[in-house]
């Protein structure tokens, strides 16, 4: 009877932790910063057609404001929500370093967990669902693109197709 698996769902419990569901239900940083200098990058997940944009406003090399919009599953949304909470106030170098740690973490490098601030360790369960890693990466990849080339402001991406 299938319910036997459901009651013993350790991997599921690990992936859909209450922490993640909270971020999904009430995400932080929803909406791109309303600032003419906002730098926006978009990532699409071709598997499901989801699209997510991350916008940052830099003051010098410090991320002064950050936000996201678009449609995504619980994992994509929670990851984006956590991103906005952790990189605000960081320098570009710090944020890029964090993005790379998250990347390693999502690909199963559990040692990185201790370096991750805030609720990010709650994403640990995602690593056990390889087909969902792409969902969690979207926001971090968009952030990296948005801040990677700090010299040139990126053009504002076209409206996300729903």
């Amino acid at each position: 009877m299938p319910d036997a698996r459901a009651t013993g769902t350790l991997p599921l419990a690990a992936m859909y932790q209450e922490r993640i569901l909270e971020h999904f239900r009430a995400p932080h940083g929803r909406g791109l910063p309303e600032d003419p200098a906002v730098r926006v990058a978009e990532r699409r997940n071709p598997l499901c057609g989801d699209a997510l944009r991350v916008g940052v406003v830099l003051r010098g090399d410090v991320i002064e404001a950050v936000g996201f919009d678009g449609s995504g599953c619980s994992i994509a949304t929670a990851s984006a929500s956590m991103l906005t909470g952790t990189v605000r106030g960081q320098t570009v170098a710090e944020a890029l370093r964090l993005a790379s740690s998250v990347e390693r973490f999502l690909h199963g490098d559990a040692h990185v967990a201790t370096e991750l601030p805030g609720d990010l360790p709650a994403l640990a369960g995602v690593a056990r669902h390889p087909q969902r890693v792409g969902c969690a990466r979207m926001a971090w990849q968009a952030l990296t693109e948005a801040i990677a080339d700090s010299a040139e402001p990126l053009p504002r991406a076209a409206a996300v197709a729903q």
């Binding site: 299938p2 698996r5 599921l12 569901l21 057609g49 989801d50 995504g72 599953c73 619980s74 969902r132």
Partner: protein, 418 residues
């Protein structure tokens, strides 16, 4: 709690084909495979036919002047005849093998389209199409300067026949329509479409049978369309084999589109002449082994009887609808079961289809979450993706029950409120 229901359901809705005929399902008794619209599981007879070809008849068909090559050629020809007969085509040579529906549509768009479509012409598809029956025509229109027109849908995702009729004119050169929607299961009223297209145009009428041939009886010779494409792997056959059946008259209008071995009559220094149908459109070493495998698959389906396959899926759909009515916040896309193939495409409140698929996977329930290669349809539904459970001959009530239990669990996890 649901034990009695399941037991009752199992008696009422056993599978049509025994699960133990399918090695993968026999090996994994707890697996609830509900993704047959993506690809079907394969019965032992298909695996045996594949192995049998390689073990007893493996040589390059049409090549060697030795008995083994003749055996390979015979097996390949016999497979063509079997599959053509299954799809109601009396003339096996009007069936051209391809890798599947995608290659078949590219074949027709290139072999017929490139020679017959020009600027000012119109190509008509529907908003229901799989990308495989959308992009080849979209790109043909772009290359030739033809106008690309899209038939819109009714509120329950059926083809809007009035809109189709309004788009047809003497300028219409191609009408390419799905037999059954892969994304929501809507069954196209083919006779009505044929009547409209023939009454208003001289257009080429192409049917995408990727989801039709596996689930409904198909009689090509009485269908009235010019080409009918299908994929073997969705109808118990191996991956990498499928084909397209056409009328002799339409094949005669086609130009070769891939060049190489087997498809030529004679190669001169500066030009070449072509082999006859069907070989003219089958360049290179044919996929004889997979054709033999698919022939075993359609013989298995024929023994089940395609009318019984349809009746089985319809009964399961009705059962699923009754059980899913208990799942709060569930919306099923597409027309009612009577006008739908064995597809349940749905949304559960505001739970993302990817999240649903992951939770269902933990219950051993395999469904597809995504845009189903039908992004034009997703745009019209106003979603980026749907969750899709799809049925076949080995599906039974236990599969549906597991789906319902898993959906209830998903609702609990997400505390969905709507």
């Amino acid at each position: 709690m649901t034990t009695s229901l399941i037991a009752e359901g199992t008696t009422a809705h056993a599978s049509l084909a025994p699960r133990h005929d399918f090695p993968l399902l026999a090996e994994q008794p707890a697996l609830r495979y509900l993704d047959s619209a993506a690809t079907s599981q394969k019965p032992q007879v298909v695996l045996d036919a594949l192995t049998g070809f390689y073990a007893t008849a493996n040589a390059n068909p049409h090549r060697g002047a030795y008995a083994l090559s003749a055996a390979a050629t015979d097996a390949y020809h016999a497979a063509r005849a079997t599959i053509a007969r299954f799809l109601g085509a009396a003339d096996p040579e009007t069936l051209v093998f391809t890798r599947g529906t995608t290659e078949a549509m590219n074949l027709v768009a290139n072999a017929w389209g490139a020679a017959h479509v020009q600027a000012g012409d119109e190509i008509v598809v529907t908003a229901l199409e799989h990308h495989a029956n959308f992009i080849p025509w979209q790109q043909l229109a772009k290359r030739t300067g033809a106008t690309f027109r899209i038939v819109e849908l009714t509120a329950d995702q059926r083809i809007d026949l009035d809109h189709l009729a309004s788009l047809l004119s003497s300028r219409t050169r191609v009408v390419a329509i799905t037999h059954v929607s892969n994304a929501v299961g809507a069954i196209t009223p083919v006779h009505e479409v044929v009547r409209l297209v023939r009454a208003h145009t001289n257009a080429l009428l192409v049917l995408d049978g990727a989801q039709g041939a596996p689930h409904l009886p198909v009689a090509f010779d009485t269908l009235g369309v010019d080409f009918y494409a299908f994929s073997g792997h969705k109808m118990l056959g191996p991956m990498g084999i499928g084909g397209v059946i056409g009328t002799r008259a339409r094949w005669a209008e086609c130009q070769p589109w891939q060049f190489g071995g087997d498809m030529i009559e004679w190669v001169h220094d500066q030009d070449s002449t072509w082999n006859v149908l069907p070989y003219r459109f089958e360049a290179g070493t044919p996929n004889a082994a997979d054709a033999v495998g698919l022939a075993a698959g359609v013989q298995y389906l024929a023994a089940l009887d395609m009318a019984a396959v349809r009746a089985h899926e319809l009964a399961l759909l009705d059962y699923a609808h009754a059980r899913l009515a208990d799942v709060e916040g569930l919306h099923i896309f597409g027309p009612p079961p009577a006008e739908r193939s064995g597809v349940l495409s749905f949304a559960l409140a505001d739970v993302h289809p990817h999240d649903l698929a992951t939770i269902l996977d933990e219950h051993g329930v395999c469904i597809r979450a995504g845009h189903h290669c039908a992004q034009p349809l997703m745009r019209r539904l106003g979603v980026s993706a749907t969750a899709r459970a799809s049925l076949y001959v080995y599906t039974d009530a236990r599969d549906i029950d597991a789906l319902v239990d898993a959906l209830v669990h998903a609702r609990r996890i997400f505390g969905a409120t709507s």
